[in-house]
C-alpha cells in the first residue's frame, strides 16, 4: 500500500522549532549520515527533520503537530537495530530520544528503577549493581537504549533463566500517535485490570506509541557466578545435550553454543587465544546464585550431565581473568564474522528448544545447497538462533537472490518446527515479508486492527511490521 503523507515544508520546520527550539530541530541537509540507517538491514533513508527531544511534553507536542498535519514520525534510540526499525522509510520527522537519558528513581523497597528511554543498557547495570540489585535482560548490544530494548522486547543470553525484557517492565509512560500522554502499568507486581496495554506496547517496535519513561523491575544481584566451557566432538552432540542440561535441578543463566571455526575467526580478529580450540563444538554454560555452595552444586551436576551426554571434558571458568578470556572472544564473534566477509545478513529465528539441534544442522546443510557461507552461534538454551549468511564476492543481484532463497528455506523450516520469525531483533522493515507469511489471516487482521485503533492515520513508524 502506497502511503500518502503531507510533504514536509519550511513552515513545518518552523513549527517544530517553535516547540523545541532551533538547536535540537535539525533540517534534512544537516542530519548526519548515521540517522539514515541502522546496523544491518541495508535500508537507507534520510528523514526530513530530526528532533532531539528532551522531555515527554516535547515528544507529545511534536506528535500532536504531526497528527494534525499528517506527517510520519519515526522514533529512534541509538540506532543499533538490525531490521531497519528506526529508519524513516517515508521521511518526515525522526524523534531522537537519546538525550532523554536520565535515571529518575531507584526505588529499593519496590525494587524498581524508573528511567528515561535514552539510557543505554550498559549504564543500567552500572547504576543498579552497587545497590546490590540486578536488571537481568542481557542483549549483546550494550550501547542500545533501554527504549530500543523495550520496543523490540530484546532478549539476550540470560533469557534461559530470567526471561526477556517484557518480563522486567513494570510500567511505561507513552506518547500515543494522537499526542496524548498515557501511563501504563506502574510499580505494581500484580495486575488483572483489563487488557495489558503495557505488555502490548513492549515489542511493538514504535508503531503504537513512543515510550518516554519506563519502570523496570529489578532482582537481587546474584553474588556468585561460574562459567563452564564444554567441548564436544561435534555440534549435534553439543546441542543435543542442551535440553538435558536445562532439565537439571538448577537452570543455567545462559547456554551458548559455538563452533571451532567461529572461535578461530575471533582469535584471529582479536589476536588473542581462546582457552581451548581443539574441539569442533562447545557449549558455554553459566550459573549464578546467592551463595558459592548453591552455584557449586548447580555446576557440578551440570558437568556430570555433560559428560554423560558425550562431552569430552568440562572446563571451569571461576575467576575474573578466566571469564574475560572466554567472554572477550564470545563478544567478538559477530565482529569477527563480519570482518571475514564483505556483507552479511542475519536470521534471528526462534524455535522450540528441543528443535535447536535440528535447525542448526539444517542451516548448515544450506551452505552446500546454496553454495554460500553460513555461520551461526548463539543461545542454544532459549531456542533463539542467530544465523549469518555471508555475501563474500557475490554481485548485488546474485546476493539478493541467494539471500532470499536461504531466508525462505530457513523460515519455512522454522515454521515447520513451530518457530517464529524473530526471537529478539524484531520485524522492522527487513523481515516484514517473512512475518506476513508466517501469520494466519486472523492474526494479521487482529494485528492491523490494533494498529488502526492506536494510529488511525498510520503516521507512527509507518512501513514497519506490516507492508
Amino acid at each position: 500500500m502506497k502511503q500518502e503523507y503531507k510533504t514536509f515544508t519550511a513552515p513545518d520546520l518552523e513549527a517544530l522549532q517553535a516547540i523545541c527550539g532551533t538547536e535540537r530541530v535539525i533540517p534534512a541537509e544537516m542530519i548526519g549520515e548515521d540517522y539514515c540507517h541502522d546496523e544491518l538491514s541495508g535500508v537507507h533513508k534520510r528523514p526530513d527533520v530530526l528532533v532531539r527531544a528532551t522531555s515527554t511534553e516535547e515528544v507529545a507536542a511534536v506528535m500532536k503537530y504531526a497528527a494534525a498535519n499528517h506527517i510520519p514520525v519515526t522514533p529512534r534510540g541509538s540506532g543499533t537495530g538490525l531490521v531497519g526499525g528506526s529508519v524513516a522509510l517515508y521521511g518526515g520527522i525522526m524523534i531522537d530520544l537519546s538525550l532523554m537519558n536520565h535515571f529518575l528513581e531507584l526505588d529499593e523497597e519496590n525494587m524498581t528503577l524508573t528511567l528515561e528511554p535514552g539510557v543505554l543498557l550498559m549504564d543500567v547495570s552500572k547504576y543498579v549493581e552497587p545497590a546490590g540489585l540486578f536488571y537481568p535482560p542481557d542483549p549483546g548490544e550494550k550501547t542500545a537504549t533501554i527504549g530500543g530494548n523495550i520496543n523490540t522486547n530484546a532478549g539476550g543470553m540470560r533469557a534461559v533463566k530470567y526471561g526477556v525484557t517484557r518480563d522486567y517492565i513494570r510500567g511505561l509512560e507513552v506518547v500515543l500517535p494522537s499526542g496524548e500522554i498515557m501511563q501504563l502499568g506502574g510499580k505494581i507486581v500484580k495486575n488483572s485490570s483489563g487488557y495489558s496495554l503495557k505488555d502490548l506496547m513492549v515489542g511493538s517496535e514504535g508503531t503504537l506509541g513512543i515510550v518516554t519513561k519506563a519502570v523496570l523491575r529489578l532482582l537481587p544481584l546474584p553474588k556468585y557466578k561460574i562459567s563452564l566451557l564444554v567441548p564436544f566432538p561435534d555440534l549435534p552432540s553439543a546441542i543435543k545435550a542442551v535440553p538435558t542440561v536445562i532439565r537439571a535441578s538448577s537452570i543455567p543463566t545462559a547456554v551458548e553454543f559455538m563452533e571451532r571455526e567461529v572461535i578461530l575467526a575471533a582469535e584471529e580478529f582479536l589476536a588473542r587465544k581462546f582457552p581451548d580450540n581443539t574441539s569442533d563444538a562447545y557449549l558455554l554454560l553459566t550459573y549464578d546464585g546467592a551463595s558459592k555452595e548453591e552455584v557449586d552444586l548447580a555446576w557440578e551436576e551440570a558437568a556430570g550431565i555433560c559428560l554423560q551426554c558425550g562431552a569430552l571434558d568440562v572446563f571451569i571458568s571461576n575467576t575474573q581473568e578466566r571469564n574475560e578470556s572466554i567472554w572477550a572472544a564470545r563478544g567478538a564473534f559477530l565482529e569477527a564474522i563480519k570482518a571475514s566477509t564483505t556483507e552479511m545478513d542475519e536470521c534471528d529465528v526462534v524455535v522450540p528448544r528441543k528443535h535447536v539441534a535440528e535447525f542448526v544442522l539444517f542451516s548448515h546443510a544450506l551452505q552446500e545447497k546454496h553454495h554460500i557461507r553460513i555461520r551461526s552461534f548463539g543461545h542454544a538454551g532459549d531456542g533463539n538462533l542467530h544465523i549469518y549468511i555471508l555475501r563474500d564476492d557475490r554481485t548485488d543481484e546474485q546476493w539478493k537472490k541467494d539471500l532470499e532463497a536461504v531466508f525462505n528455506d530457513l523460515y519455512e523450516k522454522a515454521r515447520e518446527l513451530g518457530g517464529k520469525v524473530s526471537g529478539e531483533h524484531g520485524i522492522g522493515y527487513a523481515k516484514r515479508p517473512y512475518l506476513e507469511e508466517s501469520l494466519s489471516a486472523e492474526e494479521k487482521l487482529l494485528m492491523s486492527g490494533i494498529k488502526k485503533v492506536f494510529d488511525p492515520q498510520n503516521i507512527l513508524n509507518p512501513g514497519k511490521l506490516f507492508s
Binding site: 566451557l229 572446563f315 575467576t319
Partner: protein, 266 residues
C-alpha cells in the same frame, strides 16, 4: 624433564581492604584464587609436558587452605604438589619467602627447570623468582615472553625487556619467570578434578627442610620491616586546558614527560 612451578594463593579480588590500625591486609572472608600470573607459569610448564614429556611439580607456601591452589593445578594437569606450611613460616618478606621456597624445592627433589610467574597480585614485588634462583645457586632469566625451544640440555627464549627484546639460551638447571600472555592459560578440567580428587598433596613443615634453623624463616628471617601499608591516595582533581591543537599537544607531551609517564626513547 622435571619441572617445578611456584604458585601462590592470593585474594580473589584486587579490592582488598587494609586494616587501618594494624596496616595488614584483611584476608578474612575474602575469596581466594591462584595468583593470575602463576597461570602463565603453569601453562608454560604444561606446554613442555605436551612436547617434551615433562613431569610437573607445583610448590606453594601458605596456610593449610592453600591446598586449594594445588588442587586447581592438578585440575590443569600437574603431576605432584607440595605445600610448605608451618606457623613459623608466617610473616615472611621476599627474602624469607624465597629462602623457604628454595629449601622446599631442595626437599621436594631435583628439577631441571623452575618456572615462576612474573609477580603476585598481592605483593607485586616480582623479586621472589630471582632470589629463589640465587638461593638455589642456579642461573635465572626473567621477563620471558616466548619459548623458542629446548635442545642440548639448554632452553632458548625471548625476553621482553623495557626497551628491547633479547634472546637468551640457558643451560639446565635454571629458573625462568614468564610474562603475562606467553600462552593463554588453559581452564581447569572437571575430568581431572574427578581423576585427582584423591591425589595426595605433600605437606612439608620447617622440620622437614634441609635447614631447620627457625631463625632463617618467617618473621625471624625477614630483614624487611613493614612500617605501614596504605592504599595509594586517589584524587579527582583535574585541569582544563584550552587552546589550539598544536599548542595543546605540545603541552600534553611535556606534561606526560615531566611527570614521568613517558620513557625517553632515544
Amino acid at each position: 624433564m622435571k619441572i617445578a612451578v611456584c604458585i601462590k594463593q592470593v585474594p580473589g579480588t584486587s579490592q582488598v581492604e587494609i586494616d587501618p590500625v594494624t596496616g595488614v591486609l584483611k584476608r578474612d572472608g575474602v575469596e581466594s584464587k591462584m595468583n593470575p600470573y602463576d597461570l602463565y607459569a603453569l601453562e608454560t610448564a604444561l606446554r613442555f609436558k605436551q612436547e617434551y614429556d615433562a613431569e610437573i611439580t607445583v610448590i606453594t607456601m601458605g596456610p593449610p587452605q592453600a591446598q586449594a591452589v594445588i588442587k586447581e593445578a592438578f585440575m590443569m594437569g600437574v603431576d605432584h604438589g607440595f605445600l610448605l606450611s608451618d606457623r613459623r613460616f608466617g610473616g615472611a618478606d621476599v627474602l624469607a619467602t624465597s629462602y623457604t621456597l628454595a629449601q622446599g624445592i631442595r626437599a621436594a627433589g631435583e628439577f631441571d627447570l623452575i618456572i615462576c610467574g612474573k609477580q603476585t597480585t598481592d605483593g607485586d614485588t616480582a623479586q621472589v623468582g630471582a632470589e629463589l634462583a640465587e638461593f638455589l645457586n642456579i642461573p635465572h632469566v626473567t621477563s620471558v615472553c616466548k619459548i623458542n625451544g629446548i635442545s642440548d640440555n639448554k632452553i632458548t627464549m625471548l625476553l621482553d625487556m623495557p626497551l628491547h627484546q633479547e634472546t637468551a639460551a640457558v643451560s639446565f638447571p635454571c629458573l625462568i619467570t614468564v610474562e603475562k600472555g606467553i600462552f593463554e592459560p588453559r581452564l581447569p578440567s572437571y575430568k581431572l578434578k574427578l581423576a585427582t580428587a584423591d591425589k595426595p598433596i605433600t605437606v612439608l613443615t620447617l622440620d622437614q627442610m634441609p635447614d631447620t634453623d627457625p631463625a632463617h624463616y618467617g618473621l625471624n628471617g625477614s630483614p624487611t620491616q613493614v612500617k605501614r601499608i596504605f592504599p595509594p591516595e586517589s584524587t579527582n582533581t583535574h585541569e582544563m586546558w584550552n587552546g589550539e591543537a598544536d599548542e595543546l599537544s605540545r603541552r600534553l607531551f611535556h606534561y606526560l614527560e615531566d611527570n614521568k609517564y613517558l620513557q625517553q626513547l632515544r
